[in-house]
């Protein structure tokens, strides 16, 4: 049994390695702060909620964003080169592109600086520009998309919290498991050809691969080290090293270019009352919500879930009451990283798949689990929902680049005021 498991884990690590080698190699440029930005405006009036899309020379979408309250937008680009910026609207009534100008602008980014792009728009002479939708509707839409982001952060966070609960490890590599899931799903879609109707299979396989990765990490690295009585602080530093290893392997073998899932590139909105979202977003919300429910049931109703909670509460007591602690820890790793993979795939569906996904979501995940209480799965769900919702909805009032500040500020305040979080237990207080 033991031998077979070790063989299996070695095989899984091998699969991980092979999968990373598969894709066509793209050029890598580690510069990430390069952006194209601008303000959509007519004269002095700024236009909020207009979509701007940036594509590269191969006509692949690099990113898209909706202008903020101040009409500003900014889209990160992977490197120097030629890009096409499209103003996809919607524009307020009476506003149009100036004669002789275009809603598509081609720019050459030649130096490592943000490139400013302006569209030439013209309004009906001297008439004030009316907003196309009432403020409350726009706020409602932003809140629904906040809910979506919250659900996804929750999915991605559960694993970190559960693993901390049963082992005491703050796993910095957790966010790379999120990126891993998205990259594997993308790979299966584009290279293996699981697109269109077969796409769910790609997601399922990515989730399984994520579970396998968790199994491999526990069996190959963290389990043995824990048995060597390494302290959790040392293990945390090990996980930081592992995170860099994984992140830059993904960069080398996935490439620096952000990519989108072919089957779900640009979708038009589907209205549901005052809410208008791309069709895929309704599905994503549904899938995330169902999965969270299932995890909740698993933890509350099944023997495995009960033993997970028991080990989390008190490993010694759990062991003496006949629970196989190591086996439980293993299942926590598998479950946690499978969920992280699923979260990553879904995040990739709504945004882009890129090597820096992990780095970008890491602090959101940390904020989520500290808010909810380190070590509790339900805390991670509540915290993830709250953090995702708050940071996404904040873009209604604040600059897009400040949304992370909201999450970080919440995290700092929680750590200072109530370190055990909303649902944490008292013993965790330092």
């Amino acid at each position: 049994m033991g031998k077979r498991l070790r063989l299996l884990s070695g095989f899984l690590i091998l699969v991980f390695g092979l999968l990373m080698v598969l894709p066509a190699l793209a050029s890598a440029d580690t510069d990430d702060e390069l952006t194209i930005r601008g303000t959509v405006r007519v004269g002095r009036e700024v236009i909020p909620d207009a979509k701007v899309i940036v594509s590269n020379a191969q006509n692949i979408e690099v990113g898209s964003v909706v202008t903020g309250e101040d009409g500003k937008w900014e889209i990160p680009i992977p490197g120097l080169g030629e890009y096409t910026v499209v103003l996809a609207g919607p524009l307020p009534e009476g506003v149009s592109v100036r004669d002789g100008a275009s809603d598509q602008i081609t720019v050459f980014v030649e130096e490592y600086r943000s490139k400013a792009v302006g569209f030439q728009l013209i309004g009906e002479d001297q008439k004030p520009i009316l907003e196309i939708r009432p403020t409350w509707e726009r706020l409602l839409n932003r809140m629904v998309s906040g809910l979506k982001v919250g659900l996804l952060v929750a999915l991605a966070s559960i694993g970190l919290s559960l693993i901390f609960g049963v082992t005491g490890l703050v796993n910095f590599a957790h966010s790379e498991m999120v990126a891993f899931g998205a990259v594997i799903a993308l790979l299966l879609e584009s290279t293996v050809g699981l697109n269109g109707a077969l796409f769910p299979l790609a997601v399922i396989l990515a989730v399984l691969a994520g579970g396998g990765l968790g199994f491999g990490l526990e069996r190959g690295i963290f389990g043995p080290l824990r048995r060597r009585k390494m302290t959790n602080i040392s293990l945390m530093v090990v996980s930081i090293g592992l995170a860099f290893l994984m992140r830059y392997l993904i960069l080398i073998y996935h490439g620096a270019e952000p990519e989108t899932f072919e089957s779900f590139r640009i979708q038009s909105g589907v209205s549901l009352g005052p809410i208008e979202l791309p069709a895929k977003d309704y599905f994503i919300i549904g899938i995330a919500f169902t999965t969270l429910l299932m995890v909740g049931l698993l933890l509350q109703r099944t023997k495995l879930g009960t033993s997970m909670r028991a080990v989390s509460d008190n490993p010694a007591l759990a062991e003496s009451s006949g629970i196989d602690v190591n086996r439980t820890i293993m299942w926590v790793w598998i479950l946690g990283s499978a969920l992280a993979s699923l979260g990553g795939t879904m995040i990739g569906l709504t945004q882009v798949v890129e090597w820096q996904m992990g780095e970008k979501i890491l602090l959101l995940i940390f904020a989520a689990v500290t808010l909810g209480g380190l070590g509790t799965a339900f805390g991670a769900m509540v915290g993830g929902l709250a953090i995702g919702f708050a940071s996404e909805t904040s873009t209604f009032w604040l600059d897009n680049d400040l949304k992370f500040l909201i999450a970080l500020a919440v995290m700092i305040v929680i750590l200072l005021v109530r370190p055990r979080g909303i649902l944490g237990v008292r013993e965790r207080l330092g």
Binding site: V21, L25, R113, F244, Y248, L408
Partner: protein
């Protein structure tokens, strides 16, 4: 036979030359300096500071903002002082509320505060002050070749114009001058730590690392000592940021991403935490190993020894990060005391 071929393809002189050059460069000096600061936090006091880069950013940006705004006549010395003061403010705002937290919570708080600082500097709203994503000096100044670094690196440079040294170790007068400043600061800071650790203050600090409750039972104000350690180490790290800004001639938020913090952690753990020579040896070894492997890989890729399917030459920059990750993880597992540290002092078990 194949191995012989490989050796024929490798430019050994360049390999060692570049690696050696980087291991004594300003970059290595700034990493050593920041690691001296972190060493006081983590090695001696046991504070899990994952926000080293916040102190570097505070120093660099404090100095650059003060100078480019021309406050109080725009003196560079006052500007440097304001960078240091900014670092002290950061130390207080991290330390006052969060030093009572458990070790891993302190780690999360410090990394979060460092990111808050970086994102704020980058924000469009502070464009006039920090230059937002463009950094300082402003684009116009940069195009006109004007920098806050000029006073130190050009006007006050006592070294005559020209190139000094030979082989790959040839430096122009500007680089040499900043190198001297950098390594002098490293020596001064190391001396300071050496003196502090032999003083009663240092003994209390180490006692706190070993057993906080025992130190408290002996009537020591643990919180106050920790705060002092955070401030002193933070000031040392802020000088690392300042020297780096002088070296590069500009400051940008990119230089202060969390990965810089982990580079410095790797340097410290490689050299050996809780030892005076650890940060210096760590930084020099770190850069030697990184540049050596990078150059070796580059030459092997260029000569076709490593096929394109495995690695391409423009991927080599990321190998640096992978190496850093592997070094950090494996050292932690097999040699937590690093190259020159003492094993009994490097057992981190902070709860």
């Amino acid at each position: 036979m194949m191995l012989m071929n490989l050796f024929a393809e490798i430019d050994v002189s360049k390999l060692f030359g570049l690696a050696l050059r980087t291991s004594i460069s300003v970059q290595a000096a700034t990493f050593a300096l920041a690691a001296v600061g972190l060493n006081l936090h983590y090695g001696y006091t046991g504070l899990l500071n994952f926000g080293v880069v916040a102190f570097m950013a505070a120093g660099a940006y404090g100095m650059a903002i003060f100078f480019t705004q021309g406050w109080l006549g725009g003196s560079i010395l006052l500007a440097i002082a304001s960078g240091v003061v900014f670092a002290v403010v950061i130390a207080l705002s991290i330390g006052l509320p969060s030093l009572r937290l458990r070790a891993d919570y302190l780690a999360l708080t410090t990394i979060a505060i460092a990111e808050v600082l970086r994102i704020s500097f980058r924000s469009q709203r502070l464009l006039d002050l920090t230059g937002g994503p463009f950094g300082l000096p402003s684009i116009e100044d940069r195009n006109a070749n004007v920098s806050f670094a000029d006073v130190i690196t050009v006007d006050w440079n006592p070294i005559k114009e020209g190139n000094y040294g030979a082989w790959f170790l040839e430096f122009d007068e500007k680089t040499l001058w900043v190198m001297i400043i950098g390594w002098s600061l490293v020596s001064l800071a190391s001396l300071l730590i050496w003196g502090l650790m032999r003083s009663p203050w240092g003994r209390v600090i180490k006692a706190i690392r070993e057993d906080e409750d025992a130190a408290r039972a002996l009537g020591k104000n643990v919180f106050s000592y920790k705060l002092q350690s955070l401030i002193i180490g933070g000031v040392i790290a802020s000088f690392a940021g300042i020297v780096r800004a002088f070296d590069m001639g500009f400051v940008e938020t990119q230089q202060f991403r969390p990965q810089t913090t982990f580079f410095i952690w790797t340097v410290l753990i490689l050299g050996g935490a809780a030892s005076i020579w650890g940060p210096i040896i760590g930084s020099m070894t770190f850069w030697f190993v990184i540049i050596f492997s990078e150059e070796l890989l580059r030459q092997m890729v260029d000569s076709g020894w490593i096929p394109d399917a495995i690695l391409q030459s423009n991927d080599i920059a990321s190998v640096r990060m992978i190496l850093m990750g592997i070094m950090l993880a494996t050292l932690m597992i097999w040699r937590p005391q690093g190259l020159v540290g003492k094993k009994e002092e490097a057992q981190i078990d902070i709860r």
